[in-house]
């Protein structure tokens, strides 16, 4: 009884500790974003009203925005709002930032998921083939292709796809987003952007898959399995995949994070009204509160994905159970 209790505590304690480090990281990130965006001299009210504004109206707007309070109070108000789901109102458009972000996520979310599916559809088979054909010409060819694919920025992939598939062949719309009222047209608008992201991610993924499968192929237990008469594929399926999956989960989580960030660029290539366009527009309009909220959202997403990678690690690899 006592030992079961101890075992339970032993299993939960490291998880709690890991969660705590995440909370600390989130708090640190919020301080960083807030400080960088708020310590600078210059009044947002002045920027909003323009150089023609009277000092009185600037003061009035500053008070209205709550920017005359001490910085610490402003920080606490901001975080309190975030925790209650109240993201504030944009300085420029006077729209609720929460609803703007939700609107943007309805584009960025599906874009990232579609890109991930494409990346997996390319990366997994290529990686497997590369590992199984290691040392042969086709294996080297796959390795070379993925190496080149990794060097292609998603901007370049996007522009080249537009040149070939839109300008020359008229298969896809160039840019913009028709909205989800017509799901088919909406998906059509997301296909090229998703491929721009997914092709590159697929190349990166295939290299990790290949390395991870190769390691399994060289392991002792796989040799034993093969000596029992199993084919390579059978042996891999029965013994190797779970072990190969551990590093892959890491990569997948990190890739998802880089897709979220990469979407910022690709949305700007294709003029998709997602998080990236929202961020860039707010930077250009000096709509600092929207930048602050959106940047915090992206940073939290990246940090939470890191946490999930860590946790799945423990789930898949029992050897790590109980380590901090």
């Amino acid at each position: 009884m006592n030992s079961t209790l101890r075992r339970a505590v032993g299993a939960v304690l490291p998880l709690l500790r890991r969660l705590m480090t995440m909370v600390v990281a989130l708090w640190g990130a919020s301080v960083l974003v807030f400080v960088v965006l708020n310590v600078l001299p210059g009044s947002p009210a002045q920027v909003i009203l323009g150089t023609q504004a009277t000092p009185q109206s600037v003061r009035q707007l500053t008070a209205q925005l709550g920017l005359n309070k001490p910085l610490l109070q402003q920080y606490v108000d901001w975080i309190g709002g975030l925790l209650r789901g109240n993201l504030g109102v944009s300085y420029i458009s006077h729209l609720g930032i929460g609803s703007q972000i939700a609107q943007a996520l309805s584009v960025t979310g599906p874009l990232v998921l579609l890109a991930l599916v494409i990346g997996l559809a390319i990366g997994l088979p290529l990686g497997f083939a590369g590992a199984l054909r290691n040392g042969r010409f086709s294996g080297s060819l796959i390795g070379g292709l993925s190496q080149i694919g990794m060097a292609v920025p998603s901007v370049v992939a996007g522009l080249l796809l537009i040149i070939v598939l839109t300008v020359k062949l008229h298969v896809f719309p160039t840019s913009g987003f028709p909205g989800w009222s017509d799901p088919l047209q909406a998906l059509r608008a997301l296909v090229l952007p998703a491929f721009s992201l997914g092709l590159v991610e697929g190349a990166i993924l295939s290299r990790y898959v290949r390395a991870s499968i190769l390691e399994q192929l060289r392991s002792d237990y796989l040799r034993t399995a093969r000596s029992k008469g199993l084919r390579v594929g059978q042996a891999l399926r029965r013994h190797g995949l779970r072990n190969a999956a551990i590093p892959l989960v890491t990569v997948l989580g990190l890739e998802l994070a880089s897709l979220v960030v990469g979407a910022i660029v690709v949305e700007n290539v294709f003029a998709l009204p997602g998080l990236g366009l929202l961020l860039l527009d707010s930077v250009n309009n000096r709509d600092l509160i929207t930048v602050q909220d959106t940047a915090m959202l992206v940073a939290s997403t990246v940090l939470v994905l890191n946490l999930l990678v860590d946790l799945s690690y423990r789930l898949l690899d029992p050897r790590l159970k109980g380590t901090a």
Partner: protein
């Protein structure tokens, strides 16, 4: 670089034979291995070419990269303009050459920032462990939340977009990578028997770091630097494309891509050239990084 790597061993090696008989590995042999590895060979050649074109462009380009010539705008490749001219009649080849300066400048400076902060912090975390190590790791955790692009956007919102915000953003976002790589590799060395022996002998922590840890992890770090350099070139191009970095009319591969967007139909070559330049440059540095890593692995397997 071969000279710097010639006498360094992989992090997993506890006692190298060359330690026992006091000999360093032969530089000639290192060179030969370098040339036989396709990654380090191709990567090295590309990097040398990119660096050379940047250096040459400091003193000479076929035309001034900023010289406008409206009469010859959007001219295709010709004998006078090898890769054609852009919408203002500027020579594309000259602009590509000049752009390599910016790519290398941003790459080098941002990797420098990341190493200058990340490596000492990683060594500190490995050497001291305990509370100090925890603080360093938690700080790294925070920075992990800010990939180069996000950091650049936040900095641009606060300070206005410029080349320096790009350098700073990329540099900051790579700090945690160097902290993690340095720390984990240094820990392997610090837990080795010869460091135990050095401690028993009474060597001070700093001396151990300098004499044993740094030489042993240097190759790994250099390989990582080359890889991150390639990622920095990618990030810089993306940021310039978004208008968050180098501003027009200065030439950079990212700004060239941005202005080519209006001519995707009429003059797709304007998009193709800077794309090729980015891909080749990034490929060069990442191959070089892989090659250095493989040379290290080969040496430790020996």
């Amino acid at each position: 670089m071969s000279d710097a790597t010639a006498h360094q061993r992989g992090p997993g090696v506890l006692v190298d034979e060359s330690d026992l008989n006091g000999a360093r590995s032969d530089p000639k042999q290192t060179w030969r291995r370098w040339l036989r590895n396709p990654n380090s060979l191709i990567g090295g050649v590309i990097v040398v070419l990119v660096v050379a074109s940047a250096l040459v462009s400091l003193v000479w380009t076929p035309y001034s990269p900023l010289a406008v010539d409206p009469a010859h705008a959007l001219g295709g490749p010709s004998l006078r303009h090898l890769l054609g001219t852009d919408e203002y009649g500027r020579d594309v080849f000259s602009r590509l050459m000049a752009s390599s300066q910016i790519a290398l400048f941003v790459g080098a400076l941002s990797v420098l920032i990341a190493t200058v902060i990340g490596i000492p912090a990683g060594l500190l975390a490995a050497q001291r462990g305990g509370a100090t190590g925890q603080v360093v790791l938690r700080l790294a955790d925070i920075l992990y939340g800010f990939p180069a692009l996000l950091a650049a956007i936040v900095l641009a919102a606060a300070f206005g977009a410029s080349k320096s915000t790009v350098v700073l953003a990329i540099g900051i976002s790579y700090i945690p990578v160097f902290i993690r790589v340095t720390r984990s590799n240094a820990l392997v060395v610090l837990n080795s028997e010869y460091v135990l022996a050095a401690r028993a002998y009474g060597r001070r922590p700093l001396a151990i770091l300098r004499r044993h840890v740094v030489p042993n992890i240097a190759t790994t770090i250099i390989a990582q630097m080359s890889l991150l350099f390639s990622l920095a070139v990618l990030a810089e191009a993306a940021l310039d494309f978004l208008g968050l970095g180098t501003a027009a009319p200065a030439a950079s591969w990212g700004t060239m891509l941005q202005s080519s967007q209006d001519y995707l139909g009429n003059d797709p070559l304007l998009t193709v050239w800077p794309s090729l330049a980015i891909v080749v440059c990034v490929l060069g540095f990442s191959l070089l990084g892989d090659g250095i890593g493989e040379l290290r692995d080969a040496r430790s397997r020996r």
